[in-house]
């Protein structure tokens, strides 16, 4: 499958978006309301270099292990494409060298949106050491 940078990803709503979550500084919280560890809302901010929040599309050419190369202690949290779109965000292909599944998620991310994504996110891989 060949996709162009900047092309809208026309993936089904149930497709998972993987977001890398560092363990240091840690971006995780224990949510007593949900009874589980989850990413903080700060894990769903845009990059400080001005680019949009990045993620990876499940099933689009990369395993989760490949996504974590060079970031071995990070975790990976998943939200669905449908949830992302329901908050008015886009999913745009941004393939990188060796990471064809890489996407950007442009669009405004007020606290309400970041919080909704953080609370819905499920771990594919927990960040190292955060549950100790």
């Amino acid at each position: 499958m060949c996709v162009e940078t900047g092309q809208e990803a026309t993936v089904p709503d149930h497709t998972a978006l993987w977001r890398r979550v560092p363990n240091w500084p840690h971006w995780t919280v224990f949510d007593e309301n949900l009874g589980r560890l989850r990413p903080s809302s700060i894990a769903f901010e845009d990059n400080q270099n001005g680019s949009a929040m990045s993620a990876f599309l499940e099933g689009h050419g990369n395993t989760v292990q490949e996504v974590l190369v060079g970031h071995e202690s990070f975790g990976v949290a998943a939200v669905t494409a449908g949830l992302v779109r329901s908050h008015g965000l886009s999913i745009v292909h941004d393939p990188l060298d060796g990471l064809p599944s890489h996407v950007e998620v442009p669009g405004p991310k007020p606290k309400k949106v970041k919080s909704a994504l953080a609370k819905a996110a499920l771990w594919v891989v927990e960040p190292a050491g955060v549950s100790d």
């Binding site: 500084p25 840690h26 919280v29 949510d31 007593e32 309301n33 606290k111 609370k119």
Partner: protein, 185 residues
């Protein structure tokens, strides 16, 4: 355990030294031991010297040793969550975070007599350099961010209410109800 009391708000204490009184020597020793335990000698001085707080303007605030410990643990969470947290944050953010930490401690002092009843927040550093305090308990999600600009932003979600973002730079009153709830175990 009644380990004595410690006077805060004295000139000596604000000058980064413990107020000295023979009656309080056991507590001072305990406090110093706590400081050593948490590698926090400079942190305590910084926490209490960088902030303009009503707590420090009182002339005879008496704190039990466990409560002193709790405040220091709180400060420790702010300042020693990691070297990265302190190193990557601007002095202004650290100062505001310290002010916030003391503010929380004051609220705990006002409302909660048993320090073991104070619920500590998770302290995180955002990519923006902001320091964020989070509580997610009792059906409330409360996030307070000290931004690099020095502005303090709050976000609250609670059952039966619309989520709201509030500017807390001048006052915490808009989240007082939720803050009091999440601070209490």
């Amino acid at each position: 355990m009644n380990a004595g009391v410690l006077h805060l708000g004295t000139q000596a204490y604000q000058a980064s030294a413990w107020g000295h009184d023979d009656r309080f020597e056991p507590t001072i020793r305990l406090a110093r031991e706590i400081n050593r335990t948490f590698n926090f000698v400079s942190g305590t001085a910084r926490l209490l010297s960088e902030v303009d707080s009503p707590l420090l303007s009182r002339t005879a605030v008496e704190l039990s040793a466990p409560l002193v410990q709790k405040i220091q643990l709180f400060g420790s969470a702010v300042f020693h969550a990691g070297d990265e947290l302190a190193a990557a944050s601007s002095p202004l953010v650290r100062q505001e975070a310290a002010r916030l930490a003391v503010h929380f401690a004051e609220r705990a002092l006002e409302r909660i007599s048993d320090p073991d009843e104070v619920a500590m927040p998770t302290v995180l550093q955002a990519p923006s350099g902001a320091i964020q305090f989070e509580w997610h308990r009792k059906g409330i999600d409360l996030e307070i961010s000290v931004l690099p600009s020095g502005r303090i932003a709050g976000y609250v979600e609670s059952e039966g209410h619309e989520p709201r973002e509030v500017d807390l730079s001048a006052s915490m009153w808009e989240i007082a109800e939720e803050l009091n709830a999440v601070l209490r175990r």
